[in-house]
Symmetry: C2
Subunit: 360 residues, 2 copies
């Protein structure tokens, strides 16, 4: 088989070791005589798999004991509703920072349930930077402050952890979770769709400070109540068992990479190679402010958009796929999550250099 | 490898052919150089997989063109909220038939959003039968009538399709969908968690008559609005791609079994063998009225409950697992979904006969 280099923004590449392990055990998991997909979620085999996944994640992220780890469904888009449904705690308003397409969706959904204050926005410069906290107009009465710490479409990443005082900080970290160590204790809640850096689509990770739970609005569907999910260890009903299992394999793979500190070093190197090439000539350009360039999602443009199609076609012929930029931004986007090997970035950089030389 | 016979109520056994096919293609799907888990849901490979799955399901169930097929997340438990959130259509009340533990959960959740009329209940005889429709007190002003056409825990299955006139009939068919042909046009909406007869946990199937859509309550999270999901072909956000893919393999497997009519004949034979053994002696007993005995979930008791533990232990030693009854019912339960081969039922029946002879 010839594996391609897949720069998809998500669902995205998984570590080949993880896929091979899942393949070996697919029909008969560790000699148990059945597939993980066939296991009762309340049986001891799957309970063990889920417990190990949570323990490994807690170790990787150094999650304090005062936080619950939930394995849910519905993606970040469902969290856009679950956050206000659960975290208003008797308050009427919440603060949101608008840094791109995903922030906008979170804001739009929250307006169904509370008064949304957009405390800062980078829309003035087409979402190409993160507004510095000195410019935010935070409301001390807000139920929480919501940020999108990495905008998948715009390729904009926070280079600081906001300080929101007593007001809980809520982060959509879907597209850069596990790419570097973070201090979980600075957040009230962190959520992430799995299909970028965690595992297969259909799984959503929520890490939430326990004291924030138990205040869901009465209209909240039972399945969307964090407290119910926490009390049932994410098994109020049948969880997406196979996705939890694959996520667990990814966590073990991350530990073998030296944990999140080790992973961060690799990610810094990969990002530097790609941005370095982009900055080294005037054939390519990055639309993002230098200090907010995402290590995970790298949008870039070609000097002449008429060359875009040829670029994509030649890249594909070399096994470099899913490089087309999001329709709302145009140009190209290379998503280089944890599972993208450094050789994949090297191959992309080499191709880009040649393509520029040929067409520049 | 030695495959066991897994009588789990869900997640449940999958056809071994399906697992082997998923295994072959796990790292490199049909030479495309990547796993299905790594495919962008908007790329042509996955769009093709999803379209084929829907087409095969439509063919198997003969779903009219006036119905939408949705591949969602959250299980039947989330449908318990989504049904009233979407289908009240300006009305204030809904009719529910109470036939067991899952009906009760659906009723409890619906009470958050409307006035629930329990139009019939079999709680008087411990949920061991389906109340005949002649006893239902239907309300012509109800927004819909909700039934649980197969109760997974009680092992009680409808032996008729209710006639609710102009009021849409809504069915939780989680644990017997695809086990036999049904006339979809008799229903307004049918829903089912995947982890019994469809595919892996984390996928929920909804089949809904299109004219019922577009009336979600304003408090409905966007992700829970059937209309939004239908307009986006179940890709408002990233769907559970791998689960959709495996479900598609199951649909193709079902076509090879002769479709739902062929599957029904096999299921009738399997159920007759098991109930036949239960009825042929006084060592075992079925708590369910004969005409409502489920072909999928077969609860039974041993004459002496003191023998339960030994029964489970000896069964397990023979590779017959997950036979313990639900805590709310006790005794045993054998779930014999589509994927349980007839040889698995034969092995169980042979063991039960021997155990009775030994201990009877």
């Amino acid at each position: 088989m010839t594996r391609i280099y897949n720069f998809s923004a998500g669902p995205a590449a998984l570590p080949v070791e993880v896929l091979e392990q899942a393949q070996r055990d697919l029909v008969d998991w560790q000699g148990a005589g059945l597939s993980v997909m066939e296991m009762s979620h309340r049986g001891k085999e799957f309970m063990g798999i889920a417990a190990q996944a949570e323990a490994d994640l807690r170790e990787l992220m150094q999650i304090p004991d005062t936080y619950k780890v939930l394995f849910l469904q519905g993606g970040a888009s469902l969290q856009f509703a679950m956050v206000p449904l659960n975290l208003l705690r008797g308050r009427q308003k919440a603060d949101y920072v608008n840094t791109g397409q995903w922030s906008k969706k979170a804001i739009s959904e929250a307006k169904k349930y509370c008064q949304v204050n957009v405390v800062a926005s980078s829309e003035d410069r087409n979402f190409s930077y993160v507004p510095p906290q000195s410019d935010w107009r935070l409301d001390p009465e807000a139920a929480y402050v919501h940020v999108t710490t990495n905008e998948t479409i715009g390729g904009v990443e926070f280079d600081f952890t906001p300080d929101t005082g007593e007001v809980p900080l809520v982060a959509d970290a879907s597209s850069h979770i596990l790419s570097k160590p973070i201090d979980v204790s600075r957040y009230g809640l962190i959520y992430a769709g799995a299909q970028k850096n965690i595992g297969p689509a259909g799984l959503t990770l929520v890490i939430v400070r326990e004291d924030l739970l138990g205040h869901a609005l009465p209209i909240t569907p039972t399945m969307l109540d964090y407290r119910i999910q926490a009390d049932n260890e994410s098994m109020y009903n049948t969880p997406p068992t196979f996705a939890v299992y694959v996520a667990g394999l990814v966590f073990q793979w991350l530990k073998r990479q030296g944990g999140l500190a080790g992973m961060e070093q690799i990610n810094i190197r990969k990002a530097q190679k790609l941005y370095g090439l982009i900055d080294s000539n005037d054939f390519y350009a990055s639309p993002v402010a230098k200090n907010n360039r995402s290590r995970m999602n790298v949008p870039f443009t070609l000097r002449d958009p008429a060359l875009d199609e040829g670029f994509l076609k030649e890249a594909k012929a070399r096994g470099l796929v899913q490089l087309k930029g999001h329709r709302s931004v145009g140009g190209m986007r290379a998503s280089i999550y944890n599972a993208m090997p450094e050789e994949g970035v090297d191959a992309l950089v080499a191709f880009m250099r040649e393509f520029a030389a040929q067409h520049g």
